[in-house]
Amino acid sequence: MSTLTYREALNEALSEEMERDDRVMLMGEEVAEYDGAYKVSKGLLKKFGPKRIIDTPISETGFTGLAIGAAMYGLRPVVEYMTWSFSLVCFDQIINNAAQVRYMSGGQLSVPIVFRGSSGGGLQVGATHSHTPENWYANVPGLTVITPAFPDDAKGLLKSAIRSNNPVCFIENEKLYGYKDEVPEGEYLTEIGKARVRREGSDLTIVSNSGSTHRALNAARTLEAEGISVEVIDLRTIKPLDFATIAESVTKTNRVLIVEENKPFAGWGAQVAYQIQRELFDDLDAPVHRLTSIDVPQPYNGRMEQAVLPNEERVVVAIKEVLA
């Protein structure tokens, strides 16, 4: 085992997959000479050269569409958005082209592309830079949506995403780039569409993702002192959803709290809550509870932004509400 930061783990994934397959390349703003706005691509230009690591002008629609066209022709591009908030600029290309050209062509085309970049709030960067878009993309048939929370998963899932023959939205979390944890050595892949129980417990199941998985784990550790045993599932992949892991947990604990950073209306948790109450109704001792960001644009002020997020204090309160 080695200890890596989340960003180093992503860097290793990119490096290994590019070494393995000539058709994989990385393009985006500042990915090459700047070593990446968040340093995820540090050292890659030096290692692979400007044909494989490409600095783009600021034109998300242009370079996203270009990368999709290149994928249609047989390359395997990785497109970096400096932040996923910037993907709003090229929504049409991702949804109408990446996700749908295969269908519209009756199966003649493949789009083996990965869109990746940072996301999430808590850094006081304001309303246009703090989106968590996984729910928007999960709503689109044809897209796979991954949100890793730990370095080992980030590496294994990015490798799998690059090897996938289908379009993947790989949504990282900006606050987690510096998070250090153990990563297996040697070659490994993490399975797309499989959740992971990050903490076992018996009183309540938390279903969470990305930055919120850590908030849930911290709340669980806090409540251990009060004798409350919380099981935390990190979804890892939002779509396709691993309902089996959720079901196994909920049939054991009989109570569930969803913790997500999405804004509430049609956040990913709404889908999970529907499926849980629909399929596990008789296993529930309490209604499904759900904690999301507050339904306001992301403010700049620090205390205010923390209040908007599903912060640890709110998670603790929500856990107690479910157990009451």
């Binding site: 022709y73 109408n96 519209m104 009756g106 199966g107 003649q108 289908n166 399975e191």
Partner: protein, 352 residues
Amino acid sequence: MPAADPAVKNSKANASSRLPELDPKQKVELFRQMIRVRHFEEKAKQAFQQGKIKGFCHLYNGQEAVAVGTISVLNEDDAVITAYRDHAHALTRGTDSKACMAELFGKITGCSRGKGGSMHFFDVKRHFYGGHGIVGGQIPLGTGLAYAQKYLGTNRVTLAYMGDGAINQGAVHEAMNLAALWKLPVIYIIENNEWSMGTSQARSSAGDPLTKRAGAFDMAAIQADGMDIDDVRAKTFEAVSLARTESQPTLMEIRTYRYFGHSMSDPGNYRSKEEIEQRKANDPIERYKAKLITQKVATEESLNAIDEEALAEAQAAYDFAESSPEPEIETMYEDIFTPEDQIPEFRPDIRG
């Protein structure tokens, strides 16, 4: 009147390569391609009016020399991508007219298995990458095809078509910048039929001619007369040569005209009957037919016979589409995901 032709910039192409002279058989073949597109579109119009084609149907009548002329200059393995007025491009690339008509009827035998419809014809085996509905959305895709052609060292080029309305989309500007900056072998072709649905060029676009946009990117620009297939061929050949020999893009503006409305849903009240009749007097197929006869390349009888064959082909396509089966409803789950071969399948419920 179209503005004067800007010269192609920095081209070594003119000196070292010349558009090959066609033999009589090849010239007659150009006529055949145009007339079969014409008859296919007319048959599609009838079928739409009979309720056999639904949704949107954008016809190409009047513009035949553009698709046929431009594509005739390509190698078989060059790439073509266009917007939603795409029947002619598919047919000219070699897609069977039966498969095209069946697609319009939504049948399983359609070129997109009934999943695409009129706006989404695809024939990837023949290097035709669609068929796209969002105005200008296909231009970054076409730029990407050219990017991959260059990356893989294929020496192939891409023709990426758009209408005069598309030139104002941000996507087009972004793509053009990338093509010029990165020296991509793509030829952007504006099929300028003067009307972006019901809005004239004068009411849509600042700056005339539209080829001026290329200057912003130091990109070569060419204009052609879309009613004259030989002019279309000659000018496209210059652009293709530049792309192939120097990997530089070109913006082409081909002046043409559509006789029908924007689509079958458009009665075309924004144009006068006089305007349409005036343009029809310059019909590209009639002009070329007269040229072939005058030059003694073919007799009127032989060309009329080809006309009849094309009519019969269109009827056969209609009959095939009519008698083809509908797709099974369950096929709606197919063609979403490509089967995985390097990782486990992650959507076993949905097959590829």
